[in-house]
Symmetry: C2
Subunit: 465 residues, 2 copies
Amino acid sequence: MTAHHPDTALSRTETMSLLTLVVACAGVLANTVQGDGEPLIASLALSGIAFGATFAFIRWLGPTFIRSGLKGVDMSKHHRRELPECMGAICAVVYLLVVIVFVPFPFYKDIVAATSGGGNRDVVLQVDHVSQGRFLHRFPHGKLASYLSAIISLQSSAILGIGDDLFDIRWRHKFFIPAFASIPLLVVYFVDFGVTSIVIPIPLQPYLGELFNLGALYYVYMAAIAIFSPNSINILAGINGIEVTQSIIIALLLVLNDTLYLLTPYPHPATDSHLFSLYFLLPFLGVSFALLHYNWYPARVFVGDTYCYFAGMVFATVAILGHFSKTLILLLLPQAFNFVYSTPQLFGLVPCPRHRLPRFNARSGLMEPSVTEWTPDRQPRAPIAWGLKLLDKLRLLRVTLDSEGKFVETSNFTIINLWLVWRGPLREDRLAMEITAMQAAVGLLGLFVRHKLALLIFKEDNLGL
Amino acid sequence: MTAHHPDTALSRTETMSLLTLVVACAGVLANTVQGDGEPLIASLALSGIAFGATFAFIRWLGPTFIRSGLKGVDMSKHHRRELPECMGAICAVVYLLVVIVFVPFPFYKDIVAATSGGGNRDVVLQVDHVSQGRFLHRFPHGKLASYLSAIISLQSSAILGIGDDLFDIRWRHKFFIPAFASIPLLVVYFVDFGVTSIVIPIPLQPYLGELFNLGALYYVYMAAIAIFSPNSINILAGINGIEVTQSIIIALLLVLNDTLYLLTPYPHPATDSHLFSLYFLLPFLGVSFALLHYNWYPARVFVGDTYCYFAGMVFATVAILGHFSKTLILLLLPQAFNFVYSTPQLFGLVPCPRHRLPRFNARSGLMEPSVTEWTPDRQPRAPIAWGLKLLDKLRLLRVTLDSEGKFVETSNFTIINLWLVWRGPLREDRLAMEITAMQAAVGLLGLFVRHKLALLIFKEDNLGL
């Protein structure tokens, strides 16, 4: 809207780079349409366009968001400027447009007719058949329906996320927002697949059989994944860039996992599921890298709950429809740890201040663990006190006692504060980088365990290597 | 959120009535699940629930919207209170949840297995077949894909409408917003049907044949419908209730038209299209009546552009996927007239003030036509002046000239102002009622013409009566 405002204009270099990128990607895209419509190449090209569009729109629309009241103040800086909030909404809208435009590509081979003398096209049909809809019986409608239901779930989570950013919904209400967003996914799963059996690990097979039908519980399980994934990303937050980098790491690890299935020596039966996953993850990486450019330390924009919900729902969607939800859980282990670690404060065993982000020390410019303070009158009850001291001994908490042994303060129960307890005061970007690196290491280890050690408890790794 | 605030609490009677309605509808719904899953009954029940939910949420969330800056002032009242704006967003979210939950119902017969001794079920399948996904080949996936693409288009228009309400997008930008929202519809139409031929009227058949393939132009035509329908509702606005009543009238007329196809003596080939249309229109009526309760004179809430876009997109969606877009155009004739009538101001031939809503006369409490003023220095050019005087003579405009024959003022070019030129000052609710009645009359006439006179220009009316 205000492209010529000095603050919001793209520099000459930026404009040229983005234009080059978008034109190149558009060229590649046009080429796949001319050729055999290779959907993976098309998805990559569209992801590049998504990056460019997000990069430009975040710059252009920042002041518009601030004017509409979508703004926040960065507490961990010397100069507390107002920054645009809820920029994840731009990512979500660009992403959704891109995946909607992408819909025809995976079905190109089913649509295309042998009009030119290509010779080696897989499907040879008269144009009439195509345009008159007579080839419907051989069209992979089930695949189309999953694709569409995924888009509906992602759109729902975008709408609900925007609602949360606008109206500041209470924590205990918004916890269940992703469950609503997962309804389309579950409904289409019910209508279209209805497979509710899981493979039983070998040691349990004598008791339960090879397959165990979870029935309705399978839907509860899927809804739980859809609730867990967005919320776990939403609570690992509070320093510049961390919401985006953790999402990018998870997306990259899922892409790596998908790639393993595409590089098997023979076509793997799950190839389609993992292509599906790539089609949704690549544009997500496109919009996320553009957002990271602005959200990395020192942040010029905030991502909003919209981004966290949206990212979490992208992961839940590909995992549910691709049937690799256990792999996703492995990759969310740091987030799961953060959630479990937070429970003493979330469930009120230890007082929970409104914000638990680490404390910015204005003199050193470094981040330190934030704390909950205890007054001499208000001390933890005996079992809690014992637990806190134990955690302190295990180096899982920093407890400060006074000379009489009374509690003065305890560090807050988040993985970010815990990291600061371990690694001392850190600058905000260093802190974000270390946590991201830790997450990448844990995730890679998780994937390794999943593929190398799976044979110990299942008859075969489904990679089949 | 603030259910116990005195302003936002439902009265005891309201609570009891809504609870009764919702419980009764839930009972009906449960009954259809127990029985043969009659989707039309389920849709009616869900529409009742949608009414109740919208009614309650608009009341509860009003102050939350105002706090978040979504508010406006009613210019046509003595006491200019701040009212919550963008309440169409609540309608859209409730509507979307309801149609998503409804997804399994039309496919009930395809899913259900003969587990109980019903005997007269149409489809008899083993549970295993169903839950293992082996019956996929007989599942109406195409129907499911249209249903899902419709939901995606509606969600897109909700997101874009909310964006417009938040950021006040410029008129020339937002005109094309619905085109973006129609992309999923067009993409799925392309992937799934690809029928781009239209039936040619008999007089033209010697030249063009019985069917004429529009090809890519058909998509342009569908996009044009998707742009026209929401925008035409959005510009027939400005007095309490008019956006909602016009949408309700169109929805009711479409429901009437659908019902005609369901009551034919033998099953009509288009039955499915018209059932599809009903499934989308009934919940729309549910949320719209609840909104009307608050938006009718004197309005306690505003509907926002979100509602107009959403309503228009509901109509465009059912018309495109149900293949009755020409019928929709007939029902949008008053809106089309309003648009054509507005063009002199929209295209700048006559100056266009920022607001063209009718003028509230504070002394009489009645609405009068609002005007564009002409100064002696700034007079219309000769051809325009001639045109304005002609319109005045045709009673299609009110022109005031001074003693020298110079233009003093001309009424603004909207159907609402024209109605006031014809029918003199009216109270706001009377004005809304008359325009709604006019629209209902025009629409009924349109349907009559469409079904009775169609035989003159087509070989057969597709009602086949």
